[in-house]
């Protein structure tokens, strides 16, 4: 086996890990019994703290019993009857009680049973050592600074070796090895610990004490009790106590009291001198030690043989105490039951909510929550918005059907409205009797009369709105909850929040929809603007093009005409004539385009539309030799007139009908004239339907563009429909197209109805 000094550098990495491991395990150690820890943190500075300490002790039945026994053993001249913990504290002094408590509880930690007899013995030895050091330190402290310092020194002495407890608790087997090692090899216990654990009990003790939140003095003593007074770091606050414990430890070990492992025993006389203790007194001190330890152990009932009768008496006293506590607890329990019902309802309510809830959904969820909580027959949650006279209501779920949502319009209601009787309800979130007028509303919502009294939980904080939950339940069911205003208030506020949030959601939804509609309209307007702008672009371009194109066209045409005059060859003459004709056609295209972009202003007049269409139809039938079955006309009202330019109207109808006849080889073309319903409609619709091949959406989208044609390139100029659209537009009407492939196309022309004032 390597020696400690040699092994350290070699295993530094490993041992550091091990230290970390042990320290992390310290965190998982059972804490110092809570009572002791809290007691240690309480100071004795004032009356309040003493009362706190008494309460702390009373909270632990066995501890109470122990303290009462302590009083009797101390034989302070009082009879056991009427002894209380607070009286015991008064009689014994706070510090004595604290020390006793600490010792009792620490002993419980130390004396855990172990299969290994040697370890058990070692633990008992440790305990005796601790008591020895505690008593010695107390005596030294008393001699230096009176009972106050003595008491503090006692606590520090008692706890100075808690590091060993920690190591034992974390790694019991290794701790057994330490014990063996120390016995066999007679090495210092610290060295053995470092060799086996990687750290010694002073470091472990420091961590455990800190973890248990023990006073700083205890932490320092646990850490530094092996250091001589001269070697203490300057940061140490309680150097004097550390020195006392150090001296006591040395003395006790030298005297061989208990077991603490072997180790170097320092020069006690030097240490005593440094502390200001007369070295001569040390001998007397050690002589008094066994007696003192004995009386202490007897006092706390650990060492001597217990007196059975006293034990029974104290147990009875403890039992009485327990009884009182039990009574208090059951009262608390009843209160908690009501609270739990409230919070159960709250939980049920919150679980039902989602961020998509509408006000009605929230109403039903609230009604259901109170329904379950109050064991009610029926509940109705309602919400009256600030602005409107509509009331949202949710009726709780009945036996086998879901809850229902109602919107009650009270704008035409007779008698008291919800708001009227709501104003009678006190504005507090408590369960109160509902006003008599609410009965009518109840019937409106549930459809039945209330078979138990009506109660109401007003919901507040609705920001201008009002609402509440109506409950039909027995008096007993409601009574329990009237005593717990805070919980009911929490529920009422939660419902209120949910309502406000649902309404905000609703508002946001509406705003969204409006925004969407606005966007759609904006999009349409933009499209129209683009179209108008592109038309005005075409107009500018056409004017420029007309001028630029017409000169060369005039030259081409003129030269051809000159040549034609001199030409005698018939072939050349035909070619020249072709050139002349095509030039004329090119000129016409430019002219059409200009007319499209800048049509002549309409000269509107009253046009009897039925007569016009009938004569046009006859004309079309004659020119295209069509029968009535192919081109039909239906007129709803022969007397209607439109107010438009007659010539342009003819052109429009001609273009639309020609398009219908030519475009898609239809079997029939039907024209309707829908007479307007004069009251509201100022427009007349002329519908031209064909059952041709129709247009695909992409064709339809461009059907009104100038020069667009779905026909093969080079056939027609494609200005017909777009010019018609333009002419209808300048006559104050609208032309729209719908088309379904394989079904046909419908052109609807809307024109202003005849002169309104004639």
């Amino acid at each position: 086996m390597t020696t400690v000094v040699d092994s350290q550098p070699v295993h530094q990495g490993r041992s550091r890990e091990r230290v970390e491991l042990i320290l992390s395990q310290l965190d998982r150690l059972p804490t110092l019994p809570v009572v002791a820890a809290r007691l240690l943190s309480v100071t004795t500075s004032d009356e309040t703290s003493v009362r706190d300490a008494v309460e702390i002790i009373e909270s632990d039945a066995s501890l109470t019993a122990g303290i009462l026994r302590l009083v009797r053993r101390a034989d302070l001249g009082v009879r056991s009857r009427g002894i209380t913990v607070s009286r015991a504290v008064a009689l014994l002094g706070f510090n004595a009680v604290r020390n006793a408590v600490l010792s009792v509880q620490l002993y419980e930690v130390f004396s855990r049973p172990c299969e290994d007899a040697r370890t058990t013995a070692a633990r008992e030895g440790l305990w005796r050592h601790g008591i020895g050091v505690a008593c010695t330190a107390e005596m030294i402290g008393e001699s230096l600074g009176g009972p106050g310092l003595g008491s503090e020194a006692f606590v520090c002495g008692l706890l100075h070796d808690i590091g060993k407890i920690a190591l034992d608790a974390c790694l019991p087997k290794s701790f057994t090895r330490v014990v063996e090692d120390v016995e066999r090899r007679h090495v210092c216990v610290c060295d053995a610990e470092r060799e086996i654990f990687g750290l010694d009990h002073t470091v472990a003790g420091r961590h455990l004490a800190a973890r248990w939140r023990l006073p700083q003095a205890v932490v320092e003593c646990a850490w530094l009790h092996h250091q001589s007074a001269g070697a203490l770091p300057s940061s140490v606050v309680h150097g004097r106590l550390v020195a006392i414990v150090h001296l006591a430890d040395d003395l006790v070990r030298a005297a061989g009291v208990g077991f603490s492992g072997y180790g170097h025993v320092g020069d006690a006389e030097e240490a005593a001198k440094a502390l200001g203790v007369d070295p001569d007194n040390l001998t007397t001190l050690l002589e008094r030690l066994p007696e003192r330890m004995e009386s202490f152990q007897e006092l706390i009932g650990l060492g001597g043989d217990g007196n059975r009768r006293e034990y029974t008496t104290s147990l009875a006293a403890a039992n009485r105490q327990l009884g009182r506590i039990n009574a208090k607890l059951s009262a608390e329990n009843r209160r908690l039951e009501v609270r739990s019902a409230c919070f159960g309802a709250l939980e049920q309510f919150s679980e039902r909510l989602s961020d998509q809830d509408r006000i009605g959904d929230v109403c039903v969820a609230a009604a259901d929550a109170l329904h379950g909580m109050l064991d009610a027959h029926r509940t109705v949650a309602f919400f009256a918005d600030g602005g409107s006279r509509c009331v949202y209501a949710g009726v709780s779920a009945a036996d086998d059907e879901d809850g229902t949502v109602l919107v009650v319009d009270q704008s035409e209601s007779h008698g008291a409205t919800v708001r009227d009787w709501l104003s009678l309800v006190p504005d507090v979130p408590r369960l109160v009797s509902a006003p008599p007028d609410s009965e009518h509303f109840w019937q409106q919502c549930t459809g039945v009369c209330a078979d138990e009294p009506l109660w109401m939980l007003p919901v507040i904080g609705l920001n201008g709105a009002a609402g509440g939950v109506l409950v039909c339940a027995s008096e007993q069911a409601v009574f329990r909850f009237q005593a717990t205003p805070a919980e009911c208030e929490a529920l009422a506020r939660a419902i209120g929040f949910a309502w406000v949030s649902a309404r905000a959601h609703l508002d946001a939804d509406r705003t969204n929809e409006e925004l969407l509609d606005l966007n759609r309209r904006l999009g349409a307007a933009q499209k129209e603007l683009v179209r108008t702008r592109s038309i005005s672009m075409i107009a500018k371009m056409a004017a420029g093009a007309a001028h630029e194109l017409n000169n060369p066209l005039a030259v081409i045409s003129g030269r051809a005409q000159l040549e034609l005059g001199k030409c005698s060859d018939p072939d050349s003459a035909r070619t020249l004539q072709l050139i002349i004709d095509q030039t004329q056609r090119a000129t016409q295209i430019v002219t059409d385009l200009m007319n499209f972009a800048k049509p002549e202003p309409p000269k509107p007049a009253l046009v009897p539309i039925a007569d016009l269409l009938e004569s046009l139809c006859q004309h079309w039938r004659a020119t295209s030799s069509l029968g009535e079955e192919r081109l039909s006309l239906t007129v709803a009202d022969h007397d209607v007139s439109v107010y438009a330019d007659p010539a342009q109207l003819r052109e429009v109808l001609g273009a639309v009908v020609t398009n219908a006849l030519e475009a898609t080889e239809p079997e029939t073309v039907r024209l309707h004239i829908n007479s307007p319903s004069r009251a509201s409609d100022e427009t007349i619709r002329i519908v031209v339907e064909d059952n041709g091949t129709g247009m695909t959406p992409s064709v339809l989208e461009h059907a009104l563009d100038p020069f667009f044609s779905s026909r093969p390139a080079g056939r027609g100029r494609g200005l017909g429909l777009s010019r018609a659209y333009r002419l209808v537009e300048i006559n104050g009407g609208r032309l729209s197209l719908t088309s379904t492939p394989a079904v046909g196309t419908t052109v609807t022309i809307e024109l202003p109805a005849g002169a309104p004032t004639s």
Binding site: H547, N551, A554, V555, L562, M594
Partner: protein, 193 residues
């Protein structure tokens, strides 16, 4: 004869030959104020300016062919050389017309002053001033009272055509044109057989 066509001032003898009357008759008409003219300063010689003579001959129904060779003077104003060339060709070959050309409104003014055309074929869009401005200027001068103006344009806006006729154009012809009908319109306006 060739002189007569370009001469700006005539003697009574020359006027007598042109009008095919005696010199005495010419002197009598001059002295009566029927034929307007002036006397050469420092002498009694009568002189008659060309426009006065033309006016006198028209008033009395005397044929102008001695003065104007029988050919009608045509001024073609267009900034497009191809158009000008075409008209030069067309009208030159016709034989009844004497043709001058101009490519700007300014040049048109100068040539009008010198050439005194019977008819102007005037393009609407000119590089400097528009045809209607040229037309308005000509009409503002009573000397050119009898001058005919045919406006030509590729722009077919009816409002604009109406405006052109308002400022004094006799005819509007759209480009490109049917040559025959243009010639017909010209001869009609000039009453050329």
């Amino acid at each position: 004869m060739t002189n007569n066509r370009t001469k700006q001032v005539f003697t009574t003898g020359e006027v007598a030959r042109i009008c095919k009357v005696s010199q005495q008759t010419v002197i009598r008409c001059f002295d009566k104020g029927q034929l307007k003219g002036f006397r050469v300063p420092g002498s009694r010689f009568r002189r008659i300016p060309r426009d006065r003579l033309v006016a006198f001959m028209r008033e009395n129904g005397i044929p102008l062919d001695q003065l104007e060779s029988g050919k009608r003077r045509v001024l073609v104003v267009d900034d497009d050389e191809q158009i000008i060339d075409m008209f030069t060709d067309l009208l030159g070959k016709d034989g009844r017309f004497e043709v001058r050309t101009a490519v700007t409104g300014y040049e048109a003014g100068i040539v009008t002053e010198q050439f005194r055309p019977d008819i102007v074929l005037l393009d609407f869009k000119l590089p400097d001033i528009n045809g209607n401005a040229v037309c308005r200027t000509i009409r503002a001068n009573p000397v050119y009272e009898h001058m005919k103006i045919i406006m030509m344009s590729g722009v077919a806006d009816p409002d604009e055509i109406e405006e052109l006729l308002q400022v004094g154009a006799d005819e509007f012809v759209r480009k490109p044109f049917d040559i025959k009908s243009v010639i017909e319109r010209m001869t009609e306006l000039l009453k050329v057989a």
